[in-house]
């Protein structure tokens, strides 16, 4: 048994060394995969953001940005009420989680020749990787040792119970290892190369436009292609779920108003990372605004409200308080429990623009 353990250890060490050599020396030299290769939509949006000059405001986030922030509505309110002359682009991508969000924001801002003036970043909780998605390209492509370290730090400093922390730690560690040993790299890289060289497979920057696509518009496309719109139908059967989200928001905000001392117990690793981003972007004259989106659940409020509170006033916006924004929680403004429809998105974008203008006026 001892001989086997020693042999296995040597074998695995050699494999790891070879993988790391390929990861850090050979693969970057091959240049098959740029930083944005993990998802088709990310590639399309990056190409659009880089190609179309004149975007001076970028929104980064998950589908809660992608489906709910309409740059046209946002720009019209800001430009009407201020002289900021905003032209914004929605860089929301489905399932874009916190660490990946930071990875993309950093890289896009490095990549874009004309730096934006304002960058909006959706505040999100560190999420567990769904087991079904383990080791897929989208999950593993973005890990760097620095981001893995940040992710683990943020997990350990979060308010989650121990078993959740353990689960999250394992899920991110496994996928980080997958990244470092280049699991299935050449298969996926060749797929990416083939796809990007196939005409018509990726949307052009003109087709991407300002990056916004409401769920209704997508649903319409699905209906035209004969796909059953299960998501909408499921929601329409029970719209009370939105009411539950509203209650979660009211309860959370009321609680922290009564217990402001609890706001001081926050995820220091996460807040430190966001504060460092704020400072880093300031050097390039980019004003980073971190905002809390509506329709979160109880655990998200518990985790994120204290983090938001730990950020400088000028760099944070709160859109999650259902007492201030009851319109975000109307069934008539909903597509599903977490996302608003086109009407809700327009309202949300206008309200976000108003808050932004107010904050800018206050700053100046």
């Amino acid at each position: 048994m001892k001989r086997f353990v020693i042999t296995a250890f040597i074998f695995l060490s050699l494999i790891l060394a070879a993988c790391l050599f390929l990861h850090y020396y050979i693969i970057p030299k091959l240049g098959f995969t740029p930083y944005y290769w993990g998802d088709k939509l990310i590639t399309e949006k990056r190409n659009a953001a880089v190609a179309s000059s004149g975007f001076n405001t970028l929104f980064f986030g998950s589908s809660m940005v992608y489906r709910q922030i309409n740059p046209a509505a946002f720009d019209s309110v800001v430009n009407k009420n201020s002289n900021l002359d905003i032209k914004s682009f929605n860089f929301g991508v489905n399932w874009l989680a916190s660490s990946e969000l930071i990875y993309l924001t950093d890289n896009i801002l490095n990549d874009i020749p004309e730096k934006p003036r304002y960058v909006f970043l959706e505040l999100q909780r560190i999420k567990m990787v769904n087991y079904k998605n383990y080791l897929t390209t989208r999950i593993i492509y973005w890990y760097t040792p620095e981001l893995y370290k940040f992710t683990v730090d943020a997990i350990l400093h979060s308010r989650m119970p121990f078993y959740s922390k353990a689960g999250q730690f394992i899920s991110h560690t496994v996928n980080f290892i997958g990244n470092q040993i280049n699991l299935g790299y050449f298969t996926e890289a060749l797929r990416f190369l083939a796809e990007t060289h196939t005409a018509g497979l990726y949307r052009t920057p003109e087709e991407v436009g300002n990056g916004f696509l409401s769920l209704e518009a997508e649903n319409k496309k699905l209906l035209e292609s004969g796909v059953n719109p299960e998501r909408l139908n499921r929601f329409l059967k029970d719209t009370a779920t939105v009411y539950a989200r509203k209650q979660a928001s009211i309860t959370a905000f009321s609680y922290f108003e009564k217990h402001p001392e609890d706001l001081s117990v926050y995820n220091t690793a996460y807040a430190a990372k966001l504060n460092s981003m704020i400072e880093k972007y300031k050097v390039n004259n980019i004003h980073l605004i971190i905002f809390l989106p509506p329709r979160l659940d109880r655990l998200q409020y518990q985790e994120l409200l204290p983090v938001l509170n730990a950020l400088p006033d000028d760099h944070r916006l709160n859109m999650a308080d259902a007492r201030l924004y009851p319109g975000f929680y109307l069934a008539s403004h909903s597509f599903d429990v977490t996302h608003m429809n086109e009407k809700g998105a327009a309202l949300y974008s206008r309200n976000l623009a108003e808050q932004f203008v107010n904050r800018m006026i206050k700053m100046n």
Partner: protein
């Protein structure tokens, strides 16, 4: 739980380590529990079906042993009816009912029997056949009935071969659960080497070819000329690497713990006649059908016409075993007909071949024969892979319409790199199999120095990691 998943990686390490750390008397409990967990990763509730057949077969075998005369046969019949009944309900109910609906539709009569939404329990055909072989062997007196229920349950449920075989015989496997296996460095390494090779076949070859096959078979109207032929040839290698890869991982993981499972594939694509191919392809199933269907029907010790009918019946049933669809039945029947024609024309073919004199048996002669056998095998695979008979016929029709543009392989153009890589990995596979000559990779690698072994398996592992497809593709044979 899939053999090419992260969860299996952890499961395998934990189970194998626990096996050697536990005292012998507790090992069967751990293995049985592990096998239950392995099976319950798919649809947990279906483990009850598995236990139903296990209980029936355990009791029936003991009753057969304790009975004499006609009673023995009655208990055997009961056991077979229970097994076939479960299989028939879950696998064939809707197929038979839909066929009835179609037939009644011709008579413009509605079918009163409802269609049921049944999910086929994973690997049902495999463990049912393994359980049936046990009661049949006990009935034949070739196997003593197992008195330990847990050991018998483990015989049916042993995780490496639970969901896709090899379909074991009690004489080979059952006694191994009573034996004490010690940790043996060489045997463990051999098992791991075999698993590594199996994973290469699955993750690098089979899953790489899958999208190329799907490009044609998902849209058979696009599969004209050469593309249809290429996709079918790719499918032959896909299904071979998928299934033989699974078998290698199963045999390897059992070997790590000291168990010897039967060989399931023996370089079938190097066969020079179809009969030989079927002795080398899915050996555990073909030998099952030979022993329990073909031989009881009379085999070849009957008048010639009856022999041919026996071949066709056996292979048609094998087709039906693969799936509840007319495409599988036609696939099986075609192989049976090819074999019957082969048997009927043996003498005249021998006479014709003798005209070639010494050329017979030469390298080129063998390659020619291997290509003919491969083409015959592939012709049946068109039905095996197609979703429906209509699709199969459309693909055959389209495949026979060649045009100059076919040679551009436009249907594969969405991923030209994969197409080239697909061909490259097939060549690597064939060269390796030729070099191994039907031996397991660990047997072949014994001929080389320790340094060669280290370099070879390091490179093989790195190839799997970097060129494998790891989006948890299920094994093709799980559906059966």
């Amino acid at each position: 739980m899939l053999f090419n998943s992260f969860s299996f990686f952890i499961f395998f390490i934990v189970v194998s380590a626990s096996y050697f750390l536990l005292p012998h008397r507790y090992r069967w409990i751990m293995l049985l529990l592990a096998s239950c967990i392995f099976y319950m990763f798919f649809v947990p509730a279906y483990i009850l079906i598995l236990f139903f057949t296990i209980i029936i077969d355990f009791i029936a075998a003991n009753l057969i042993d304790n009975s004499v005369g006609k009673k023995r046969k009655n208990w055997l019949t009961l056991s077979i009816c229970a097994n076939v009944g479960v299989l028939a309900f879950f696998k064939y109910y809707n197929f038979l009912n839909d066929s009835l609906t179609s037939a009644l539709g011709w008579l413009q009569t509605p079918n009163p029997i409802p269609h049921l939404d049944i999910i086929l329990p994973i690997g049902l055909s495999f463990h049912t056949f393994q359980a049936m072989s046990y009661t049949i062997e006990v009935y034949k007196g070739a196997q003593k009935p197992e008195k330990h229920f847990g050991i018998f349950a483990l015989y049916v449920m042993f995780y490496p071969q639970l969901v896709a075989g090899p379909i074991e015989r009690p004489q080979n496997l059952l006694h191994q659960f009573h034996e004490k296996h010690y940790f043996n460095y060489h045997r463990v390494v051999e098992g791991l080497k075999l698993m590594c090779w199996g994973l290469f076949k699955k993750a690098v070859v089979a899953d790489r070819l899958a999208p190329l096959v799907d490009a044609v078979y998902a849209n058979p109207e696009n599969g004209t000329g050469l593309a249809a032929f290429m996709a079918t040839a790719f499918f032959a290698f896909q299904v071979y690497c998928d299934f033989s890869g699974y078998s290698d991982i199963a045999i390897g993981s059992a070997r790590v713990m000291g168990f010897t499972l039967m060989k399931n594939f023996n370089i079938p694509f190097f066969s020079t006649n179809l009969s030989e191919l079927w002795k080398r392809w899915h050996i555990s199933l073909t030998s099952w059908f030979k022993d329990y269907v073909y031989v009881p029907l009379g085999g070849n010790r009957v008048p010639k016409w009856r022999w041919y009918v026996n071949l066709i019946i056996t292979f048609s049933l094998s087709g039906l075993w693969h799936g509840a669809n007319w495409t599988y039945i036609i696939w099986g029947s075609m192989q049976g007909i090819f074999l019957a024609i082969g048997a009927a024309t043996q003498n005249s073919r021998n006479k014709f071949n003798s005209l070639f004199g010494n050329f017979q048996g030469s390298f080129l002669w063998n390659v020619w024969q291997q290509l003919v056998v491969f083409a015959l095998f592939c012709s049946g695979l068109v039905f095996f892979r197609s979703q429906s008979l209509d699709n199969a016929f459309m693909l055959i029709q389209n495949g026979l319409q060649f045009s100059q543009t076919d040679f551009s392989f436009s249907v594969f153009k969405n991923n030209p790199y994969e197409f080239k890589l697909g061909i490259a990995v097939i060549i690597i596979l064939l060269v390796m199999e030729k070099l191994m000559g039907g031996r397991y990779i660990y047997e072949w690698s014994k001929n080389f120095s320790r340094l060669f072994n280290w370099i070879f398996f390091l490179l093989l592992t790195l190839t799997i990691l970097h060129f494998g497809v790891f989006n948890s593709n299920s094994f093709v044979y799980f559906q059966f």
